[in-house]
C-alpha cells in the first residue's frame, strides 16, 4: 500500500501545474484581500489579517483536496481500478491511499498562505498558536478528502474537473471563505453553520487566540466526513460489481 502511495505522490510531483494553481490562487487572493481590508478586527474579535489568512488557506486546501479526489473519475474511466482489482490490493486500500493523497496535497496551500501571511503581511502568532491553527486547519480538510472522492466516484472523466470546481466553489462561497459568514444574509448564515468549510476556518481561526474548539463544529465536520466516506465506500462497492 505504501508503494501505491509513493507512486501517487511521485505522479503529482511530476505534473506540478496542478499544485502551482491550487497554491497560487489562494496566495494571490490573500495578498489582494489583505491589502484591501487587512487593517482592524473582524466582528468576532479576530484580527482581519488572521481571518483572511485562514479563509484563503482553507480555500486552497479544500480546492486541492477536492480536485485530487475528482481525478479518481479519470482513473475509473481509464480502467486503472479494474487493473488494481486484479491484484491482491483490497479495494479499501485504494480509497485510503487516495484520501491520504488528498490530505497531503492540502499541505502546500496551508503552508504557503501561512508563510506569506507571517513573512510578508506580518501576522504575528506564537509558535504554539501557529501549530494549532495549522493542525486544526489540516484536520478540517478530512471531510473534503472524502467529498473529493465522492466527486471522483460520481463524475465521469469528462465532467470531473467541472464538478470538482463547482463543489469547491459552493463550499467556499456558502461556507463564508470569500464573503465572511457574518456578512451573509441570515438564511445563508444559518446554512453556513451546517457546512464543513465554515467550521474548518472557524475552528482554525479560534486557535490563533486560544479559543476552545466548538462542539457543533466538530460534529458538523465529523458528520460530513462519515457521510461522504460511507457513500464513497458504497459507490465503490457498486462500481466493483457493475459491468
Amino acid at each position: 500500500m505504501s508503494v501505491l502511495l509513493i507512486s501517487e505522490v511521485k505522479r503529482i510531483l511530476r505534473s506540478p501545474r496542478f499544485l502551482i494553481f491550487t497554491v497560487g490562487f489562494p496566495v494571490v487572493y490573500f495578498l489582494i484581500f489583505s491589502g484591501l481590508y487587512g487593517a482592524g478586527n473582524a466582528p468576532d474579535g479576530t484580527a482581519t489579517m488572521v481571518y483572511l489568512m485562514v479563509s484563503m488557506a482553507a480555500f486552497g486546501a479544500i480546492s486541492a483536496s477536492i480536485s485530487t479526489g475528482g481525478r479518481v473519475a479519470v482513473e475509473r474511466a481509464a480502467g486503472w481500478n479494474r487493473q488494481l482489482r486484479l491484484t491482491p490490493l483490497p479495494g479499501w486500500a485504494y480509497l485510503l491511499v487516495k484520501a491520504v493523497v488528498a490530505m497531503l496535497v492540502a499541505l502546500p496551500a496551508l503552508v504557503l498562505v501561512f508563510a506569506v501571511a507571517g513573512l510578508v503581511s506580518h501576522v504575528d502568532l506564537s509558535l504554539l498558536s501557529w501549530l494549532r491553527v495549522f493542525g486544526t486547519a489540516w484536520l478540517g480538510v478530512l471531510p473534503f478528502a472524502a467529498i473529493g472522492l465522492l466527486v471522483g466516484m460520481a463524475a465521469t472523466a469528462d465532467s470531473a474537473q467541472a464538478m470538482s470546481t463547482v463543489t469547491m466553489l459552493v463550499f467556499a462561497l456558502l461556507g463564508g471563505l470569500f464573503v465572511p459568514a457574518f456578512l451573509l444574509p441570515p438564511f445563508l448564515a444559518t446554512l453556513a453553520h451546517l457546512l464543513p468549510s465554515y467550521w474548518l476556518a472557524d475552528i482554525a481561526r479560534g486557535q490563533a487566540v486560544g479559543a476552545a474548539v466548538p462542539a457543533q463544529g466538530v460534529l458538523v465536520l465529523a458528520g460530513w466526513l462519515l457521510t461522504a466516506g460511507a457513500v464513497v465506500v458504497l459507490r465503490y462497492h457498486r462500481d466493483a460489481l457493475r459491468v
Binding site: V3, L4, S7, K10, R11, R14, S15, E75, A77, A78, G79, W80, R82, Q83, L84, R85, L86, T87, P88, L89, A240, L241, R242, V243
Partner: protein, 306 residues
C-alpha cells in the same frame, strides 16, 4: 469459501450473465486443465469479455460458478495465481513502464523482478518511458509484462493483440510462447481465427453467449473448412449451380453468385466447364462469421461437441 482442488486450472459451470433482457453469457460450461492453451473465439458480442470479467472476479454472474485452481476468483487473484491482460485495463499515463510494473509487483506476496517481466514481454527498452508516450503495441506488451509480473499459473488475456501491427503481433506471440513453454495455463479471447489456430491447443467457439464448439484446433478448423467461390456468371440460375460438385450453398446478387464449397477446386472446375463466360472470379476462405453460420445454422443455439 473452501478450497476444493479438483485439479482443473479453470472450471466454469452453468455461467449466466444477463444485461436486462440480453443474455450476454448463457449457460457456459468450460474446464481447462493445467498447461492447456485455450483460445476463446467468437465475434464481437459473443460473450468473451463478459466471461473473462466473471472469471477474474470483476463481475458477478447471475447464475453458475467459477473456480480457479479450486478457489474463488478473488482468492486465486489474491494468491497471485492469476495474471490478466484486460481490454479495458488502463494504466495511469504519467508513470513510466518500469514504475508501473514495479508498483504491481510490490502488491503481490511474491513476484518476478520487474525488469525480468519487462524483458520477457520484450519491452525492457521502454522501462524509463511514460506509459502515455508508448505506441499501441508497446502499451499492450507493457500490459503483458504487468500480467506476467506475479509469475502466475494462469494467464488470462482479453484480445491481447488488438491495436498491434503485424510485427508487434508476431513479437507478442513469440514472447507468449516462451512463457507457455514452462507449462503454464493460458486462456485468451480473440476474434482472429488465425491467432487461435496458430497458438492454441484448443479452441472454444462462443456465439451469443453459448459454447457452440469446443475441440482441438484441427477439429475446429475442419468445421470451419471450406471456401467461398464468387464470380459473375451471366444467364444462369441458382438451381443449376446448386447441382455443381463440391457446392453446399448458393446465393446470388444480380449476376454475381456466391458458392459455399466443401471443395472449391472441384466446384470451380465444374463451374468453368458449365459456364465458360464466368469472370471476375474470387476464391476466399470462410471468415469466422461464415464458420459460425456453418456451425450453428441460423439461430446459433445448438451445441456441437467435436
Amino acid at each position: 469459501m473452501e478450497i476444493t482442488n479438483d485439479g482443473a486450472a479453470v472450471r466454469i459451470t452453468g455461467l449466466t450473465k444477463r444485461y436486462g433482457p440480453v443474455r450476454a453469457v448463457d449457460g457456459v460450461d468450460l474446464t481447462v486443465a493445467p498447461g492447456e492453451v485455450v483460445a476463446l473465439l467468437g465475434p464481437n458480442g459473443a460473450g468473451k469479455s463478459t466471461t473473462i470479467d466473471i472469471l477474474l472476479g470483476l463481475s458477478m454472474p447471475d447464475d453458475g460458478e467459477v473456480r480457479l485452481f479450486g478457489r474463488s476468483p478473488r482468492q486465486a487473484v489474491t494468491a497471485g495465481l492469476v495474471g490478466a491482460m484486460l481490454q479495458s485495463g488502463g494504466f495511469p499515463e504519467d508513470i513510466t513502464a518500469g514504475e508501473l510494473v514495479a508498483l504491481l509487483a510490490a502488491l503481490y506476496p511474491k513476484a518476478l523482478d520487474p525488469a525480468e517481466a519487462l524483458r520477457r514481454a520484450g519491452v525492457a527498452d521502454v522501462a524509463t518511458q511514460r506509459f502515455g508516450r508508448l505506441s499501441g503495441g508497446q502499451r499492450q506488451r507493457v500490459r503483458f509484462a504487468a500480467a506476467l509480473v506475479c509469475d502466475p499459473e494462469l494467464l488470462v488475456l482479453d484480445e491481447p493483440t488488438v491495436a498491434m501491427d503485424v510485427t508487434a503481433r508476431r513479437e507478442f506471440w513469440a514472447a507468449m510462447r516462451t512463457y507457455t513453454a514452462g507449462g503454464r495455463t493460458v486462456l485468451f479471447a480473440t476474434h482472429y481465427l488465425a491467432e487461435a489456430e496458430e497458438f492454441a491447443d484448443r479452441v472454444v467457439l462462443l456465439r451469443a453467449g453459448r459454447v457452440v464448439a469446443d475441440g482441438s484446433v484441427a477439429q475446429v478448423r475442419s468445421l470451419a473448412a471450406g471456401r467461398v467461390v464468387s464470380a459473375v456468371v451471366p444467364g444462369t440460375d441458382v438451381d443449376t449451380l446448386q447441382g455443381l460438385p463440391g457446392v453446399t450453398q448458393v446465393s446470388a446478387q444480380g449476376d454475381r453468385i456466391r458458392l459455399s464449397c466443401t471443395d472449391s477446386d472441384e466446384a470451380l472446375r465444374a463451374l468453368l466447364v458449365a459456364h465458360p463466360g464466368a469472370h471476375d472470379i474470387e476464391v476466399t476462405a470462410h471468415g469466422l462469421e461464415d464458420a459460425f453460420v456453418a456451425l450453428t445454422g441460423n439461430a446459433g443455439t445448438t451445441e456441437e461437441r467435436v
